[in-house]
């Protein structure tokens, strides 16, 4: 699979050439350059507006991001943000089921944490990385296995868009206690 490289400024390169048609590259494997942050993805969305059509919440998230400061949008609660894949298998009771989710979490020394209680103004400049696949088997005992994996451009955008759909709302109601 050909590798797409996402640069810090949100540009995409394939075989060292800048790409113009982003739709044809959605299935390509993504590699992140050093220094990529969540803000890099917003630069990507504005450089390639076609990708905004992949999720109904992306346009609103871009407006929210545009309203944030140009730099220093970080939180001390996390060391970085990580996109990872979770494969879940459920056996009994009921019909056996397998689901795959692409999720973004905030990482610190206590583990992975949800982002919905953090506003974009504290996340935009956090370092961003691509993580592993967490394979979870739900049964009498839950077992899990972490494997290395790759992500396509579509999965990365969809995973981020999914997470961003939980952003927004009244700051008063979003205050963490």
């Amino acid at each position: 699979m050909e590798e797409l490289t996402l640069a810090h400024d949100g540009t995409l390169r394939l075989n060292n050439a800048a790409i113009t048609d982003v739709i044809s590259c959605l299935s390509n494997k993504v590699v992140l350059e050093d220094g990529v942050t969540l803000r890099s993805f917003f630069s990507l969305f504005s450089a390639y507006p076609d990708v905004l059509r992949l999720n109904l919440f992306l346009q609103g998230a871009c407006s929210d991001a545009a309203a944030c400061k140009d730099s220093g949008c970080t939180t001390e609660e996390f060391t970085h943000l990580e996109l990872y894949r979770q494969l879940e298998m459920t056996g009994a009771p009921g019909t056996p089921e397998m689901n795959i989710h692409t999720l973004v979490r905030g990482i610190n020394n206590t583990g992975r944490h949800e982002l919905r209680f953090f506003r974009l103004e504290s996340l935009l400049d956090m370092p961003f990385s691509l993580g592993q696949m967490r394979h979870v088997l739900f049964g009498d005992r839950t077992s899990e296995l972490y494997c290395n994996t790759t992500f396509s451009l579509f999965e990365v955008i969809e995973g981020i868009a999914w997470e961003l759909s939980f952003q927004g709302g009244s700051p008063t109601c979003s205050l963490r206690r």
């Binding site: 879940e88 949800e114 919905r116 709302g169 109601c173």
Partner: protein
């Protein structure tokens, strides 16, 4: 407004936000608050052991175990219990949804308050799946009273509600939900935002509505809102009507965020099927998991 409120809790941190709203609400209404924790599902038949919902371990339901869980509950909600005395802590054994519904019916509660799901790694987790937890779904479907779903921290809830968003698709179920929205807004003195999102995603024979079709639909929706809802508000003038077009759940969320809504009130389902047979509508499901404020699901008047 409410005389008896049931707060159904797994006593896990996921229910903390719902706890805050429950106690606030009970205090504001001077209502009796039942805090119900279902110990777990009996392992088999008439077994006396249960699978503890918090630890996942098998436990024998005897006096010691009950006392231990009751003590845990008291410790978990110590701060709230100290503030409000009209609270009863209750334990039950069984399938959580069934026991919650049974208790609500027995005590004739006016409102059930719950979190949307229990934990992030739960196979039924709302967050990971975009659907709400199985217990919440079943309770919302079968409860005779409104169910308030609290999925986020909320610092202002109920005592300071100022913006209620009521969403309608003009189904009979939505009309029932309006009665709840109207009385709530009037009692609290909150602004009532009556909102309808014209569904642009549904096509007939592959044809999507033209601009003139959309405008006709919006006009018709305005007329329906005037007839069905505004006419019932009588002297209450603290309301606003808005009609947007798009994907309903996205528009509802955008509207609620723009208005800084404190509470969203929706019908539990919209299709014309008996409440007992209706799945939780996909629109309310999506709104529940993404909303920053509590969502009230109303299945009956």
């Amino acid at each position: 407004m409410f005389k008896k409120i049931l707060f159904a809790t797994s006593a896990s941190p996921a229910c903390d936000n719902a706890a805050k709203v429950s106690f606030d609400l009970a205090q504001k209404n001077d209502a009796k608050l039942y805090t119900l924790h279902v110990l777990g599902v009996p392992s088999r038949g008439f077994s006396t052991t249960v699978t503890d919902l918090r630890s996942g371990e098998e436990e024998t339901v005897d006096a010691d175990y009950r006392d231990w869980v009751m003590e845990e509950l008291t410790t978990t909600y110590a701060a709230q219990l100290a503030d409000y005395e009209k609270t009863a802590l209750e334990l039950a054994v069984g399938v959580p949804a069934t026991e919650i519904l049974r208790f609500a019916r027995k005590e004739g509660v006016d409102l059930i308050v719950m979190g949307a799901n229990t934990r992030d790694d739960d196979p039924e987790s709302a967050r990971s799946r975009s659907i709400v937890g199985r217990t919440m779904e079943k309770v919302a479907r079968l409860a005779k009273c409104p169910v308030l779903i609290v999925n986020r921290p909320c610092t202002t809830c109920w005592k300071l509600f100022s913006n209620i968003v009521y969403c309608t698709d003009f189904s009979p179920a939505a009309d029932n939900a309006f009665e709840f929205a109207r009385t709530t807004a009037e009692e609290i003195g909150a602004k009532l935002n009556i909102f309808h999102a014209f569904d642009m995603t549904s096509s007939k024979m592959g044809l999507f509505p033209s601009q003139s079709d959309i405008e006709r639909q919006l006009e018709s929706a305005q007329k329906k809102i005037d007839e069905r809802y505004v006419s019932k508000l009588k002297d209450y003038d603290n309301y606003d009507v808005e009609i947007w077009e798009g994907t309903p759940y996205v528009e509802i969320l955008k509207f609620a965020r723009e208005k800084q809504a404190d509470l969203i009130i929706m019908a539990h389902h919209t299709a014309e099927v008996p409440a007992e047979d209706a799945e939780l509508g996909s629109t309310i499901e999506q709104v529940v998991v993404r909303s920053a404020c509590p969502v009230a699901s109303v299945s009956r008047a």
